[in-house]
């Protein structure tokens, strides 16, 4: 049957070629679309994790309600509020940072952790001023948790420890202020006090929002500026597996009333968007593969119709119904395997080329994941086999005697 299937394929070169191209496009298209989209999503995900670690622990913000105040003033009595309590109850600073760090060091799934103090303030130089995100970091531990050190394009993170009032400034902010390394800029704290700081480095992440507003200093420097000695606003944690961060965060949340949040919980909108993108891609690919499958179905169905008399003679000389099913199924299988292999090669080649395309600020992101290739190949093979199965089954059902009666 194999030889006959091959003969059938080559005897109808144009039809077979169209089927082959369809399958190759299906497989290659799946690989290219999925690789680009996954690559882009991975890039965004890495950026999120790079800057903020897998888990952040910060002081919890609570909404004040009548329930949260029950029993505080008049225990055991019904209270009728004239004006119901409202607003937020929060601590700007983490109350138990030391306790957290000691506990985190003992957990097997925690790779490293670091402290931060963050606030929104203003910086100025001459007549220029801008609102900034001031971040106090531990220059020793921060690189163990995030990749922030890799984004320092001039100077080094460790220079923040070389003295008081040293800062690293985002490249866009630097341009705005018209400053350069070794210049002094002023930071105005929420109390309105001005602190001059010296620029010892430049930070560039490619994320314009960060590059326009981020100012990094040592924890001590930022505590001084914010006039909050010993205070910490958050602890950033790196775990053994970023994909399990939500699970680890849930476990950590049992230790304290502080707010423990994984990177994916904090960026739920982003993840919803990526899921939506994935869904759109899957629907597009499904539609495309469905069209390819219909093409295969139509070609094979036509072939079964054209080959009825030959099917009849095959059956009369001893070939079984199953043999005829296999004959047509084999054609679908051979074309889909050949098309799938071509699709794999074409997909790989296209991804290799796409990766060389430069976009502003970065190259095109392409995911090199073996599972994408396996999925692409399997998807078209299964679809093509399914599309071939129906005509093959019809061929198997044909009664030789009815065909002979019809044609004689």
């Amino acid at each position: 049957m194999f030889e006959l299937a091959i003969k059938y394929i080559f005897s109808r070169k144009l039809q077979s070629l169209l089927m082959l191209i369809g399958v190759a496009f299906g497989c290659g298209g799946y690989i290219v679309f999925t690789s680009i989209q996954t690559g882009f999503q991975n890039f965004l995900k890495e950026r999120l994790i790079e800057n903020n670690g897998h888990i952040t622990i910060r002081s919890r913000e609570d909404y004040i309600t009548t329930d949260s105040l029950a029993g505080v003033f008049f225990q055991g009595k019904n209270i009728y509020w004239i004006t119901e309590p409202s607003g937020k109850r929060s601590h700007d600073y983490l109350q138990s940072a030391w306790y957290w760090q000691k506990r985190l060091e003992k957990l097997p799934y925690v790779v490293a952790n670091t402290r931060r103090i963050e606030a929104t303030t203003t910086c100025s130089r001459g007549s220029f001023s801008r609102s900034i995100a001031l971040r106090g970091i531990d220059p020793v531990n921060e690189p163990k948790v995030t990749n922030i050190a890799e984004d320092i394009i001039e100077g080094k993170l460790q220079m923040l420890s070389s003295g008081n009032n040293m800062v690293i400034v985002g490249v866009e902010l630097l341009k705005f202020l018209g400053a350069k390394v070794n210049d002094t800029i002023n930071i105005i704290n929420p109390n309105g006090h001005v602190y001059p700081v010296k620029i010892v480095g430049i930070y560039s992440s490619g994320d314009r929002r960060n590059d326009e507003s981020l100012v990094l200093g040592s924890i001590t420097t930022v505590q001084n500026i914010l006039e909050s000695p010993g205070k910490i606003t958050k602890i950033v944690v790196k775990t053994v597996d970023a994909n399990k961060a939500a699970l680890f965060a849930q476990e950590l949340s049992h230790y304290s009333y502080d707010k423990v949040e994984s990177w994916d919980q904090a960026n739920i909108n982003f993840l919803s968007m990526t899921k939506q993108q994935t869904l759109i891609r899957q629907i597009t690919m499904f539609t495309f593969i469905l069209v390819v499958s219909f093409g295969i179905y139509n070609v094979l169905n036509m072939l079964v119709y054209q080959k009825q008399r030959e099917i009849a003679i095959l059956r009369s000389i001893g070939y079984t119904s199953a043999d005829t099913v296999i004959l047509f199924l084999l054609q679908g299988a051979l074309i889909s395997i050949a098309g799938g292999v071509i699709g794999l090669i074409a997909g790989y080649a296209a991804c290799s080329y796409i990766q060389t395309i430069k976009l502003p600020g970065r190259p095109m992101m392409v995911a090199w994941d073996l599972s994408i290739y396996i999925w692409g190949f399997m998807l078209v093979i299964i679809s093509a086999l399914f599309a071939s199965f129906l005509p093959a089954k019809n061929a198997g059902r044909l009664s030789p005697i009815e065909i002979i009666r019809r044609t004689e």
Partner: protein, 225 residues
């Protein structure tokens, strides 16, 4: 040994009875022509005797086996090894060469390598050696039919069923094909069941069974040639 024993075979299509309780015995090695006008039931008898079609009642024993009671797989195998078929339309596989078409039944049994020599002999014997590597589309009608006959013989069947094998051929090719059947019958002692509406070819047979309205009208044994 009886090649075919048919007992009270009835075949109906709805209310129409195509075969009305046919009983006949065909001894092994006999050349039998089944004749009759259109609609007399000769093709239906052909399909019923060969097991290509089912019957409503009665029994058909081919080489001692009740073919209508056989499981499908066994019946396919039986047809492959014991029976050869030639139809009015040659039904060659258009993608295969003459040699490949002849070897098609052998391929089912994975015997095509062993049978290749015999296939070449048949090509030569039927004077169609030049068709060995030709596709059916490159052959004449007579050549195609001779390839179809060669295909029916490749497994050395004990019975050849031929349904109007000359129906689509000119007189010269018809004679060639009929002589081939006669030779096969005489040389190999192969039973030949020939459906024809041509009296001239019917007289080449040992016996002529004439059907009329689904019944045997006459059963004549001719003197052996």
């Amino acid at each position: 040994m009886m090649a075919i024993e048919a007992q009270k075979v009835v075949k109906s299509f709805g209310d129409f009875a195509a075969l009305k309780s046919i009983t006949l015995n065909i001894p092994g090695g006999e050349f039998v022509a089944i004749t009759g006008k259109s609609g007399s039931g000769k093709s239906t008898l052909f399909y019923s005797l060969s097991g290509l079609d089912t019957i409503n009642s009665g029994h058909v024993r081919v080489l001692g086996k009740n073919i209508h009671a056989m499981p499908q797989d066994e019946l396919h195998d039986f047809r492959n090894t014991k029976m050869g078929f030639v139809f009015q339309f040659h039904y060659l596989v258009s993608e295969l060469t003459g040699l490949e078409n002849i070897l098609l039944p052998a391929k089912k049994k994975n015997l095509h390598k062993e049978k290749r020599e015999y296939a070449l002999y048949l090509l030569d014997y039927f004077a169609i050696a030049h068709c060995k590597d030709k596709l059916p589309s490159q052959m004449s009608g007579g050549e195609r039919q001779r390839v179809a006959v060669a295909r029916s013989l490749i497994m050395n069947p004990e019975i050849i069923f031929a349904d109007e094998p000359t129906g689509n051929l000119d007189s010269i090719n018809s004679e060639i094909v009929m002589n081939i059947f006669r030779e096969i019958n005489l040389k190999n002692k192969t039973t030949v069941i020939l459906i024809t509406h041509d009296d001239e070819y019917a007289h080449l047979a040992d016996r002529e069974i004439r059907l009329k309205d689904g019944e045997i009208e006459s059963d004549v044994h001719y003197k052996k040639r």
